[in-house]
């Protein structure tokens, strides 16, 4: 969420997996938090800020 508040190019959505089981299944949510960038699942689990930012930007550019 902090990334989205800081950049007009970033949108951030927290999605409660139990409320949207079909989407959760599609994104292969077996553990939370599950991070998905541009519709592509990336990783599970919390990450320190520098790692999180590097990973989401890396996923975006990758």
């Amino acid at each position: 969420m902090k990334c989205a508040f800081a950049s007009p190019h970033v949108r951030a959505t927290a999605i409660e997996a139990n409320a949207f089981p079909r989407l959760a299944e599609e994104m292969e949510v077996w553990a939370v938090p599950r991070i998905v960038v541009d519709g592509v699942p990336q990783w599970d689990g919390a990450a320190p800020e520098p790692v999180f930012v590097a990973r989401v930007l890396g996923a975006s550019f990758g």
Partner: protein, 142 residues
């Protein structure tokens, strides 16, 4: 029924007193996906509105607005966290409950800051972003 325990409510009220600008919670209601078995007795939309209104009661800088199936919302219920009523692209889809009420409060606190709480190097990296980026974080209440 209160959304927070008394000690949690006192702490949340204290945190929200630091808001430097108004934050609007836009509660988007509409047709909901059939949830998992066992959760069907919960009115997710009504509960989401109750949580948002419960937070607004803790700070005069937090307001709540409700819209029915507004444009650009793929799922309902959803709460958009809007600094000064502006769409910043930040949402919580589904019922923010349990542990996730804390996440919603965290979002409100960040929206209420005039300056980002991110590290300078993170802001620098984000400033170099020249395309749209959608981050989805799947969570559960426990």
């Amino acid at each position: 029924m209160a959304i927070l325990r008394p000690e949690e409510e006192a702490r949340a009220r204290e945190l929200l007193s630091a808001l430097e600008r108004p934050v609007e919670l836009l509660v988007a209601l509409g047709r909901e996906e059939t949830p998992l078995p066992g959760a069907r007795d919960v009115d997710f939309g009504a509960e989401t509105l109750r949580v948002a209104e419960g937070l607004a009661e803790l700070s005069e800088r937090v307001t709540v607005r409700v819209e029915h199936e507004p444009e650009g919302f793929p799922r309902f219920p959803s709460v958009a966290i809007r600094p000064e009523g502006r769409d910043a692209g930040v949402r919580f889809d589904g019922l923010p409950w349990g542990y996730e009420i804390g996440s919603l409060i965290g979002g409100v606190l960040e929206a209420g800051r005039r300056d980002s709480s991110l590290r300078p190097e993170s802001l620098e990296a984000l400033a170099a972003l020249d395309r749209e980026l959608a981050i989805d974080v799947f969570v559960t209440p426990t």
